[in-house]
Amino acid sequence: MDAPLLEVTDLSVRFDTDDGTVHAVDRMSFSLGHGEVLGLVGESGCGKSVTAMSMLRLLPETASISGRALFAGTDLLTLSQRRLRRVRGKEIAFVFQEPMTSLNPVFTVGRQIGEVLRKHLDLSRRAAQRRTVELLELVRIPAAAQRLNEYPHQLSGGMRQRVMIAMALACDPKILIADEPTTALDVTIQAGILDLMRDIRARLGTAIVLITHNLGVVADISDRVLVMYAGRKVEEAPVHELFAYPQHPYTIGLLGAVPRPGLNGRERLQEIPGRVPSLSELPRSCAFADRCPRADEVTRSNVPELREVRPQHLVACFHPGGEWNGG
């Protein structure tokens, strides 16, 4: 197996705020292969987006980042601003959660996509326009040539997200990082966008990091899934393995909270009791201990390390395994 496209080692992100230091991400390590789709799952505030943004150093100055993020042999975390700008958008592209507001309202979509093309690829105005039409067709926007001259407010939310994806794909990036790309959209449009992303991976061989809190979305298109809790990776496995044999009680809890067909009306969805712990202090116990049905003395006084419990299946838990009664 050749070297992974992206290899992240011991990535930690701290925010120095007036109320003390927040450890948003704690010693994350993962890798991403060529053309692989990695699902990054966890509830709000668990550090999914911060992990992704820290790799391209898109965080505000209050963040201090340590660790390494090797992309094609160079460490993104120590790259100069100038060279980093050439990676952003060209090699690694971002799609944000809010398609409604992530487009500049005063320029046509054609101009905004064309701008990325001309900056990174040095295309002429005419060539950029041709490529823009191609891109809009790639993301299945009907009547692409006419859409070029429209402004963001003239497009629907789904259309705007397609434009954002087209913009991200403009320079044929190696990696597409999609941060909750479907959260702000209607369910039917979500399906369309996911379908589009699958298609892009198949056609262009783009590796995708899909950040979401929705396990259904992950199951749909991911190759591998990484579950985060309170700034740490708690479980990582290939998608079928994870859904068939979830090990961490948090993962099991998440799966229990997914609505399933066949669930009858009287049955309640399982919830995970309690709330996410504060990230102001480094944990001296398992971060999930307070909410965990399996917590005991060991759990409360030691921090669990990741270990491989099944082939390719990593989990950070003292009492992994067990059943969950779902699909």
Binding site: L56, L58, R85, R86, V87, R88, G89, K90, A93, F94, F96, E98, T101, S102, L103, N104, P105, V106, F107, T108, E115, V116, K119, H120, Y151, H153, M164, M167, A168
Partner: protein
């Protein structure tokens, strides 16, 4: 009333005294000896001495002066070279001069005023151009030359009128025959002046100011200074303030703290005080007034562009652009600036009229446009002294400012509608 007359009479006496001294000294200062001039060729010392004695030329100058004034007050102005008393000559010529003056005025009025009316009523038509051209010729032709031409044509060639001479008014027809040619010649130039005044005062109903200058023309010409002060100072202020405000708002940190506090300090001074101070340092001229007004408007605009930048940098498309590899400059120029143009345009349309009025204040203090060059502001300030007698002097320049401000507002609205795709249909 009697006080007024006394004052005027006193002033006249002083003027007369000074004028007589000037004449006396002036005549004495001219080189040459009056005794030799009067004595003719015979340079006989006794004759010269006699002449000098007769005219008191051997006395000290103050005595000579007192004697001269004494005689003049008694109606004795001396005699001319033909030994005719000068006082008598002047008195006999008075009716002649008066008649000629009245007749030439009559000619000028009868020709000039109807011509002016015709030109004004038929403005831009051939008759207007003909009359205007005629007036121009009338102003340019030298009187003495025209008089000579008239004598050659009407007296020498055609024998219609006498070439010279005077007949008293006891024979009215003959009298008029002698007077008609000089009256027409003298009236020509004046009729041209009358015609032009008549035409312009009919075309402009705004009247004239205390020096008889046409208000309408001054408003038209004053637009130059007012527009320059209003438009260019605002442009200058934007050019300085927007980059500063954007840098402060985008980068925050120490630069922002310094810029924001400096802005606060400058904003503690009212706009006009700031502009007056700057203009006083720069020195009086329209250019410096424009610079001062522009710099004076900078702090407010810095604050506005900083605030806008602070808000806009939090918009989602800014991190989206960063993720696409945009540089700081690219984000400022392509994402933040275009999104704040609305606010800037609105602010500029407010700043322009303020600067126009500000120019008035600077000019009033002698720091702006220098008289007689008009600007709307200086006209307003000048009109202040005549507010009760001639309010129109203040009304029309004021209206000009109002119309200009309104026009800039409409222009700003239109620009905003054109530039903002969200309001475009």
């Amino acid at each position: 009333m009697s006080g007024f007359l006394l004052r005027k009479a006193g002033a006249a006496a002083v003027v007369l005294f000074l004028a007589s001294v000037l004449v006396f000294v002036g005549v004495r200062a001219i080189p040459g000896d009056p005794a030799i001039a009067l004595g003719g060729e015979s340079r006989d010392p006794t004759v010269l001495q006699a002449i000098r004695h007769k005219y008191l030329l051997d006395k000290p100058q103050p005595v000579q002066y007192a004697h001269w004034i004494w005689l003049a007050l008694h109606g004795d102005l001396g005699v001319d070279q033909r030994e005719l008393p000068i006082a008598h000559t002047i008195v006999t010529r008075i009716p002649l001069t008066l008649e000629l003056a009245v007749l030439s005025m009559l000619v000028a009025t009868l020709v000039g005023i109807p011509a002016g009316v015709i030109a004004a009523v038929r403005r831009g038509k051939p008759s207007d151009y003909a009359v205007t051209a005629g007036a121009l010729i009338g102003l340019s032709v030298p009187h003495f030359w025209l008089g000579l031409l008239f004598i050659i044509w009407f007296a020498v060639d055609l024998h219609w009128l006498p070439a010279s001479g005077y007949v008293t008014m006891h024979h009215p027809i003959e009298n008029l025959r002698h007077m008609v040619m000089p009256a027409i010649v003298l009236g020509t130039g004046f009729s041209a002046v009358l015609m032009r005044q008549m035409r312009s005062s009919m075309l402009t109903s705004l009247g004239t100011d205390e020096f008889g200058r046409d208000t309408f023309s001054r408003i038209v010409w004053g637009a130059r200074a007012s527009m320059q002060a209003g438009f260019f100072s605002t442009l200058l202020a934007l050019a300085i303030a927007v980059p500063i405000g954007m840098i402060a708002g985008y980068y925050r940190g120490a630069a922002d703290a310094v810029i924001a506090r400096l802005t606060d300090v400058l904003l503690a001074f009212p706009f006009l005080i700031l502009a007056v101070g700057l203009a006083a340092i720069l020195g009086p001229s329209l250019l410096n007034a424009t610079l001062a007004l522009g710099i004076g408007a900078v702090p407010g605009l810095v604050r506005i562009s900083r605030g806008e930048t602070l808000a806009l940098r939090e918009e989602d498309y800014v991190p989206a652009a960063v993720a696409n590899g945009a540089s700081d400059l690219g984000i400022l120029v392509r994402h933040i600036l275009p999104n704040m143009t609305n606010t800037l345009i609105v602010q500029a349309t407010v700043t322009i009229p303020t600067a126009i009025v500000g120019e008035a204040v600077l000019s009033f203090l002698g720091l702006g446009v220098q008289p007689p060059t008009p600007s709307w502001g200086t006209m307003l300030q000048d009109a202040q002294s005549y507010l009760t007698q001639a309010p129109r002097l203040a009304v029309f320049p004021g209206l000009a400012i109002v119309v200009a401000a309104l026009a800039f507002n409409v222009l700003g609205d239109g620009l905003r509608d054109i530039l903002d795709p969200r309001t475009r249909r």
